[in-house]
Amino acid sequence: MAEKIDIILSGVGGQGVLSVGAIVSMAAMKEGFKVRQSEVHGMAQRGGAVLAHLRISSGVIESDLIPRGGADVVLSMEPLESLRYLEYLKPDGALITAKEAVENISDYPDINKIHQAVEAQPFSLLIDAKNLAKEAGAVRAVNMVLVGALSLKLPVKPESIENAVRDKFTSKGEEVVSCNLKAFSLGRRAGGGND
């Protein structure tokens, strides 16, 4: 059997959904996995709901899109958006989402109800990503917290992801690199990792 994982990435246009996918893809490729990442460009990026499909496999990947009922994980930058794509999840798939809402629509529901709906899902995890990123040194590192939480589910070694984080941020200086690595490790711990 091929070793594989299918991940639905969701969020709001401008949150950096694609950059999360890029880090994980780079790390997986370095380990010899095949990778497909289906992205959304253009109109949908203007503050609208964003959905990306990330597939990682040791074998052939046929489709760019994950079938409904096929995703091992939904990873979301935003709690309401995390609930939009549940039909893609396997019955025993995991739902990981940042806690903080992006309220750029007038009819955004009560955030507590959204949090309750996430917690009512089996194998779900609400992550206080913004505060963990602050603890790591910069709110901008919030996506690396989520990458950290996701990393526990991946067939990819955490060291490979740390290397991908280094590669991505090295041009921005050592401070940015270490902040993002700290965010990654805090996310890993929040996801239940004990390293």
């Binding site: 289906s38 203007r46 760019d64 096929g70 750029n104």
Partner: protein, 537 residues
């Protein structure tokens, strides 16, 4: 061999480069934009020798590329599907030119309309012009087919289309890049008879083009991009797939037993003999195509036959929107996979919207107030970010048709008798195809106000520079003959709101043609420039 991680658009661009591309022209349009962005980036490297440029519109891009071919060099044109409508005059006639340097037209369709006004299928244009068309289903095929398209363009002396779709254009995967062919040297087409579309010559060229059709058919029958596998174990069902439907079929294949006989079509004309062979192998053929039912329609014809065909035309395959692994699964009569149920909470939609601080927002606020004070009016709009003015909280526009149509439609709306008619169009779209409509309005001094929302960029497609700088737009408007007393500019900012409302009220009330240019740079490109200059420090 070199492994590279690329978007589908970039795979096609790399294939063109390795085929020996000399010049690429295009107009930005989702999902095709990244082909040219990649080539422009590539052309910036010191010894690339490649010219890659954005053009005013798809027609000028296509004409430019045909000129490159006349000079004996390989040329690529890039556009989205509706861009081919704009380029179609040049494209259709180029089919009768004796193409000299290879000419490839890369068109990206948008089934599902992620960022488009329709989901037209470019295979019909290839068929209309009677030229070969490639339809890659993977990144590697996008790369390989680009190379092959240039080869057969020169072999048959015809333009060739490569059709992409959004899900391939904007998906990332690894390709194996082969060696690079050298670029061709300058050498004008030897015989001008093949390059002049005058009736006396076109008649002969058309006959030659019709004779070529059997060569194209023979080519497609033999092509490795049209693989046919017959499984004698399954006499019930055979399957034809085109484009990404091939991938979605494979995704479900492990649940099909015995495996159906299968023809995947990746290059056109339709390989007729292979279609016949496949259909003879089973009771029924299911045709699963990304896009319109192009192959299916040919197969059905209009006389009832004994063949049993399922597809989009009898709704076994979902006829509208994009295919995916699930609706293809349904077409194959497989039960849905077990999946998580929807959450027990109603989720509001989150449509795209203008960015906070966008200049268009301030312009729409001023326009809405001006029209309210004038007792209402009619507002046409166009293709670009400002189409988001259709959504709340603005609800500012009433029509969106195609590039440039806001201007022509406003003129017609005004001549039909509507009052306070306003056209809203962006700077890049105005230059693309709004100018001709403006000249019509000048010719009759039609009572209407054209608002050119100038944010100094092509924003919706990611901020490509407008073909001419903002300072030139005013000169163009005046050059068309607009009365200088009724050409006004303002800066769309909340602090100027009252002033801007007044300007708009005055010009909309003017009983002839007026033009207003709200000028402020897109906040996204401004931000990008700031972060780039900060990085340099």
């Amino acid at each position: 061999m070199q492994e590279v991680l690329v978007l589908g658009d970039e795979a096609l661009a790399l294939g063109a480069v390795d085929a020996g591309l000399s010049v690429a022209y295009g107009y930005p349009g989702t999902p095709s934009t990244e082909i040219m962005e990649y080539l422009i980036h590539y052309s910036g490297s010191a010894d690339s020798g490649l010219i890659a440029r954005w053009c005013t519109n798809e027609k000028t891009a296509c004409e430019g590329a045909i000129g490159v071919s006349f000079g004996g060099k390989k040329a690529l044109v890039t556009m989205k599907h509706v861009g081919l409508n704009v380029a179609s005059d040049a494209f259709m006639n180029s089919a009768l030119m004796k193409i000299h340097g290879g000419l490839v037209i890369a068109v990206a369709d948008d089934p599902g309309m992620h960022s488009s006004q329709n989901e037209q299928d470019s295979r019909f244009f290839a068929d209309f012009a009677k030229v070969p068309c490639f339809e890659p289903k993977s990144h590697q095929e996008a790369y390989d087919m680009a190379i092959e398209a240039f080869r057969i363009s020169e072999l048959f002396h015809v333009p060739v289309i490569i059709k992409l779709v959004t899900r391939l254009s904007h998906s990332r995967a690894v390709i194996n890049r082969g060696g690079s062919a050298g670029r061709k040297t300058l050498g004008k087409a030897p015989d001008r008879k093949g390059w002049m579309a005058i009736p006396a010559l076109s008649r002969g060229n058309w006959e030659n083009h019709l004779i070529l059709q059997k060569d194209f058919l023979e080519y497609s029958e033999k092509s490795r991009f049209n693989p046919l596998t017959i499984n004698p174990e399954n006499k019930d069902i055979a399957v034809i797939t085109t484009g990404l439907a091939g991938n979605y079929y494979m995704e479900n294949l492990s649940d099909l037993s015995p495996v159906p006989s299968h023809l995947h079509i990746g290059v056109y004309p339709i390989p007729e003999e292979k279609v016949r062979k496949l259909c003879e192998s089973a009771e029924k053929t299911i045709v699963i195509e990304e896009g319109y039912p192009f192959v299916e329609r040919f197969m059905r014809g209009i006389l009832p036959g004994s063949w049993n065909i399922d597809g989009k035309m009898n709704s076994v395959v979902t006829p509208a929107g994009e295919l995916d692994p699930d609706n293809v699964r349904k077409a194959l009569a497989l039960p849905p996979r077990a999946a998580r149920k929807a959450a027990d909470i109603s989720l509001p939609g989150r449509p795209p919207q203008l960015c906070a601080g966008c200049p268009h927002g301030d312009s729409f606020n001023a326009l809405n107030e001006a029209l309210e004070k004038l007792g209402g009016g009619t507002v046409t709009s166009d293709i670009g970010c400002y189409a988001l003015g259709a959504y709340p909280p603005y609800n500012a526009v009433e029509t969106i048709l195609c590039m440039g149509a806001s201007v022509g439609m406003a003129r017609g709306a005004s001549e039909s008798g509507l009052k306070n008619v306003v056209a809203t169009i962006g700077d890049s779209t105005f230059l693309h195809s709004g100018i001709t409509g403006l000249i019509d309005a000048v010719s009759t001094d039609t009572p209407m106000t054209l608002i050119i929302l100038d944010n100094s960029t092509t924003a919706m497609t990611g901020g490509q520079d407008t073909i001419l700088s903002s300072s030139r737009i005013k000169q163009i408007v005046l050059g068309c003959g607009v009365d200088p007393d009724h050409l006004k500019e303002f800066i769309p900012l909340p602090k100027n709101h009252e002033k801007n409302v007044k300007i708009l009220m005055d010009e909309i009330s003017h009983p002839g043609l007026s033009v207003v240019i709200p000028l402020r740079e897109c906040i996204q490109t401004l931000r990008q420039k700031k972060s780039r200059s900060a990085e340099k420090v």
